[in-house]
Subunit: 149 residues, 2 copies
DNA sequence: AATACAATGACATCCACTTTCATTGAAGAC
DNA sequence: GTCTTCAATGAAAGTGGATGTCATTGTATT
């Protein structure tokens, strides 16, 4: 188990204890799958991964677990406009720069700090107090480009 | 009627003629309301505006009209992750920079052309072929800040 | 005016997500 | 270790935004 995973699991169990909630088998399995995947995902993807190994997990439980992870500060909830609620491991800072492949649908993150500084400056000059910033690029990732070409 | 509105209506009727579709009373009313509002909106907002004056419009018709506007190139469809499909007048270029007020929910656009080139350069350096770019800032707009302070 | 067929709107359906509720199971009490 | 409490689970029902269905209405061409 990686150090990062260890830390996330500790954080989650601390949260459960604090709120007098229970550490169930399902929650552990879902958290493992979520951390192991290590990229932004959504309920259905996790559900399929989990069902392939453990057939006794309901989809409502996966939904509830993901919301719980968000409440625990382990995950961040976001959306890309395709109707699915997505989750990513928190702790990447406040940055939310996504590359969404319009071919395979995979979401990857990238770092764009120099540009964000200027974005924020423009917004502030309009009297807007910025709380969150999201940059979303849609296109074709290098893997899909190679395969189709 | 503004020049812009005139132009949009002409474009729409050209589209209808080309596709052998019909210019109905409802479509005209919906287009008028959409252009007059002059900011990004969604079905329900338009529906309420329209119903307050013309009780003979069904919500399915508003949905269909908005999709038609998008097909005609008059409107652009987008989402902000709140489950609503939003539409804005097209023709602002390919840029989609939104300021979303977390207090009043109003969406305003801002122009950020100097930054686009750098965004694209970063993505391309990762082997990503960019098709669309969306920047979304959440925060409190100057009007809400003044009212609450 | 007559004809053809797109558009409308009430209603049903879809889909992602949430809630309900009877049952199961985790964790503290003893 | 057993008991007790009450949160968690999962199957099924419910929500809400968006879309499909279909009989009827309305537009535009003949």
């Amino acid at each position: 188990m990686t150090q990062k995973k260890q830390k996330v699991k500790e954080q989650f169990h601390l949260f459960l204890t604090k709120k007098r909630l229970k550490a169930t088998l399902q929650r552990n399995l879902i958290l493992d799958a979520f951390v192991d995947l290590d990229r932004p995902t959504h309920m259905d993807e996790l559900y399929l991964i989990l069902r392939s190994k453990h057939s006794h997990i309901g989809h409502a439980t996966v939904y509830r677990a993901l919301r719980l992870f968000a409440a625990a500060g382990i995950a961040r909830e976001f959306s890309l406009g395709d109707g699915l609620t997505r989750y990513e491991l928190a702790g990447h800072g406040k940055r939310h720069d996504y590359l969404v492949c319009s071919d395979c649908g995979t979401v990857t993150e990238f770092d764009n700090s120099s540009i964000e500084e200027r974005q924020l400056a423009v917004a502030r000059s309009m009297g807007f107090t910025v709380e969150a910033l999201k940059i979303e690029l849609r296109g074709v990732c290098s893997r899909c480009l190679t395969q189709s070409g």
